[in-house]
């Protein structure tokens, strides 16, 4: 069974992936891309599962390299199940991606992450109601603490082993758009493409003039012989590459031309479809989300209003930098001095022992002037470096 992890950037996909695969990871590159392709093989319930960690993306109509990879994987390698990670604190934008996946892959499980973050912003989400609104299983997870990860996977396996595809919810488009989608569906229903892709998705992508529609790709996973002359240091071999087999002419050109005359250009379709999805999300949102005091500023908001203020921001930055500087250089000086004194004291004792043991002069010199003086000089810097890195780490986690 092939399972893909997908979601917006920074929702915790890699945390889940690492927790599930552990050291059974295979890291390569995506064909022709400088982006890592991470996959892992797991054994659960007598099944071999290939789990793949896809790069974060906001939509399946993608432009950046990472997004194209995610999209091409879903389209060309067709995972059996999609584990969709959703950030509960930012559910509208996250569900936008989920709705796009739902149109393409019916077997999907939602992993609801960052509930704690949502909670502190006054947002509460009832996962059971989200599940019934989208007709898709939802598992609550706390990726950072490792909670719910196994349940998330076993739910995905359960969905993947179902005899027939589940029927998730369909986005309801406004009447004029719906009518155009249905007209396109009528033209496409007899083409062989409907056996590979869902009809509605095909129709929508035809209206958006998506270039992938009508292309047939084959996947070759044979490793190409590594060419030593071509930069072998940096190319660890693409495990999978795609080959374009044929491009078919799809019906509907005349219909598209007619719509264009009426003002329904490609841009207009793209916008209308994106708009309809966001509207649909807003319409189902009250079923599962409660937002208490949406205008109440969170702790981050309150801190930001000072730290990022155009006036106070600069003095606050200077004070923090001065504090870090003072702590690591001036306040740490007595500690460094204490380390030096301590080393000298230990050196005296050890050399005293050596003299008592009649050790040769060069051994005493090695220990006193070489080991203790040398290592001691380095150790004297430890307090300084430790304090600096403590602050450095603090600043880093404060950003997150």
């Amino acid at each position: 069974m092939k399972i893909a992890l997908i979601g917006n950037p920074n929702v915790g996909k890699s945390t889940i992936f690492n927790a599930l695969t552990g050291s059974n990871q295979q890291v390569g590159n995506w064909a022709g891309k400088t982006v890592e392709r991470k996959s892992g093989v797991l054994q659960r319930a007598n099944q071999t599962i290939e789990l793949i960690d896809l790069p974060g993306t906001y939509s399946l109509t993608a432009y950046s390299q990472e997004e194209i990879i995610t999209r091409e994987y879903i389209l060309r390698e067709r995972p059996d199940v999609v584990m969709a990670m959703v950030d509960a604190s930012n559910i509208e934008r996250n569900l936008y991606l989920v709705l796009q996946i739902l149109e393409l892959v019916p077997r999907i499980v939602i992993g609801l992450n960052m509930m704690d973050l949502a909670h502190s912003a006054g947002i509460s989400i009832e996962s059971s109601k989200l599940a019934s609104a989208l007709k898709v299983p939802v598992v609550e997870i706390v990726a950072a603490k490792g909670k719910g990860i196994e349940e998330f996977l076993s739910e995905a396996i359960r969905v993947g082993s179902m005899a027939s595809d589940p029927l998730p919810v369909e986005v309801s488009y406004p009447a004029d758009l719906e009518q155009k989608i249905q007209a396109m569906e009528l033209l496409l229903v007899d083409t062989p493409w409907v056996t590979t892709y869902p009809l509605r998705w095909l129709a929508i992508k035809c209206l958006e003039r998506d270039p992938e529609i009508g292309q047939k790709w084959s996947i070759s996973s044979t490793k190409l012989p590594v060419n030593k002359t071509v930069n072998s240091c940096c190319n660890n071999g693409d495990p999978v590459s795609y080959e374009l087999q044929e491009v078919a002419e799809l019906p509907g050109e005349s219909l598209l031309a007619k719509y264009e005359e009426d003002g329904w250009t490609q841009d207009h379709f793209e916008m209308a479809i994106a708009d309809a999805k966001y509207r649909y999300i807003s319409s189902i949102l009250p079923q599962f989300r409660k937002h208490e005091n949406p205008n109440k500023p969170t702790l981050t908001d309150r801190l930001d209003s000072w730290i990022l203020s155009p006036f106070w921001g600069y003095p606050i930055m200077l004070v923090i930098l001065a504090l870090v500087f003072w702590m690591s250089f001036i306040a740490s000086a007595p500690l460094g001095g204490a380390v030096s004194l301590g080393m000298a004291w230990v050196a005296d004792i050890v050399v005293g022992l050596l003299q008592w043991g009649q050790a040769p002069e060069f051994v005493q010199s090695l220990v006193r002037d070489g080991i203790f003086a040398g290592v001691g000089a380095v150790l004297a810097f430890v307090p300084q470096i430790a304090i600096f890195f403590a602050f450095f780490h603090l600043c880093r986690i404060a950003v997150i």
Binding site: Y96, E270, D275, Y278
Partner: protein, 88 residues
């Protein structure tokens, strides 16, 4: 009154009227939820012509000034609920 998003003052709310230009940038904006009819708030401006932070749909988004110059907004209107899609 139509204005560019970049001309809004800190703390001002506006409704997106349309997005100029096309291609990848517009598509990306739409994917992030900036579609005609959506209401957003300018939270703060970075100094020296730096990016702008806006709030929409309950999340924050930072955008370059050049990108904001492609977004045309009008005043937020509580009476006006439905919004026709601009074709361009």
């Amino acid at each position: 009154m139509e204005r560019y998003l970049g001309d809004l003052k800190t703390g001002e709310w506006a409704r997106v009227e349309r997005i100029d230009g096309g291609g990848a940038l517009r598509r990306r904006m739409m994917d992030m939820g900036i579609v005609p009819g959506v209401e957003l708030e300018v939270v703060r401006h970075a100094p020296f012509g730096g990016p702008l932070q806006v709030r929409l749909k309950g999340y924050y988004l930072a955008m370059r000034r050049g990108e904001c110059a492609k977004i045309i907004v009008t005043e937020k209107d509580p009476q006006y609920t439905d919004h026709l899609l601009a074709s361009r």
